[in-house]
Symmetry: C2
Amino acid sequence: MNDAPIGIFDSGIGGLTVARAIYERLPSERTIYFGDTARVPYGPKSPETVRRYSREILDWLLGQGVKAVVVACNTSTAHALEALRAASPVPVLGVIEPGSRAAVAAAPRGSIGVIGTAGTIASDAYGRAIRSLRPDATVVQQPCPLLVPLVEEGWFEHPASRLVAEEYLGPMRAARVEALVLGCTHYPLLKPLLAEVMGPGVTLVDSAEETARALAEVLAESGLAAPGGGPGTHRFVVSDDQPRFLQVGSRFLGERLTEAELVAVG
Amino acid sequence: MNDAPIGIFDSGIGGLTVARAIYERLPSERTIYFGDTARVPYGPKSPETVRRYSREILDWLLGQGVKAVVVACNTSTAHALEALRAASPVPVLGVIEPGSRAAVAAAPRGSIGVIGTAGTIASDAYGRAIRSLRPDATVVQQPCPLLVPLVEEGWFEHPASRLVAEEYLGPMRAARVEALVLGCTHYPLLKPLLAEVMGPGVTLVDSAEETARALAEVLAESGLAAPGGGPGTHRFVVSDDQPRFLQVGSRFLGERLTEAELVAVG
């Protein structure tokens, strides 16, 4: 038993979909969410820069006494997870392994599609994780840089969003993928639209839920779970622009966000 | 006469449209272009953060011995121009005053529309500049966060881009603006599409050309123009991800970009 908080971090707002899944699965845990809103987005940045930023946030979270860290950002997981694990005295979980496991379970024989930011797709982190679980898997990957700004505009059902999704998902449909990994924390908000464009018979894999499940396992196995009883408290910290984080973040969290602290890192 | 280089800076790639206009108008001048690709975009960042980043770049350019600085970024001009002018021993020009002057000339009586990033529009920098020139002007402003990623995807004529433009420009058309200021350096690449959506009788104002004209005036008036003769040389410096800058930047510059140096600021 350990009542220290869990650290969750993301390049900005999107990781709140992962935080939300963690709150639901582990309601007694305290958490600290760090959104690097001063330096968002990580998607188009170089691997070295993403690693440096991620390391700075890890150090800040460790300074807050966290007992585990969830990298709730696909780009950061893709470029920095190994380096963070090597540097951290507490367990560090990413979103790519859990999402890949769920994809392989949903598509034991067929092709698997992966959509994400330019950085995540270029890293081939999902491709490698999926093939390590199922060496014969055909993985079809597509960077979708327009989906994040569409989500942040709140255009979940806009005709423009549909045209963009049709353009990006064309290769996935042609390849008849059995599962589609939503490899960016913003994408779950477009799930109904993406499901419609993909058509029936395709499982959409949302890494957030899979990551929360993996975290619950790690905490249980290593004796780090909170004693339970009361509900956990949730602290939010950002590196810039609290008003926008509170406004847009509420949409991601599915409940009203009222308070975020400002902390400079780097 | 002064053969020192001119410094041009932007949050990333978009300022190359301004650089291009400067090369065309002032072919004998040497220039150094700084693209802050590690910290792009500035649009959603807070005014304080944009001022801090802009100041760091100004200091770097001054260290290179520039004789004048062009802030080729609307967001940076909106939030930081005054602070940069106060701190700089050499002239500092922004893109908002020149663009506003051209808009007022194109719409001496009618309403004026302005489109830009969230930060530029929230600052009301164009509104203030336009009203200082024409106090009775009605200024209709609209943040267009999706246009930058559409340009960076190269979807200049894509049906999705048309739907997005129609959504954003609806209020401009309803207000029957006489001039529309393209208040972001990415937007000139969408000029044909935006012109079509706005319909005939609306002048699209591209700040890049107006800024180059203003720079030529400042150099001539203050005796800072290059002696002329040979063609100027152009140096490109970025804070991250040279390959993407070279690839996407060529589209903005209208010619092939082959070399960019990497420099860390901040």
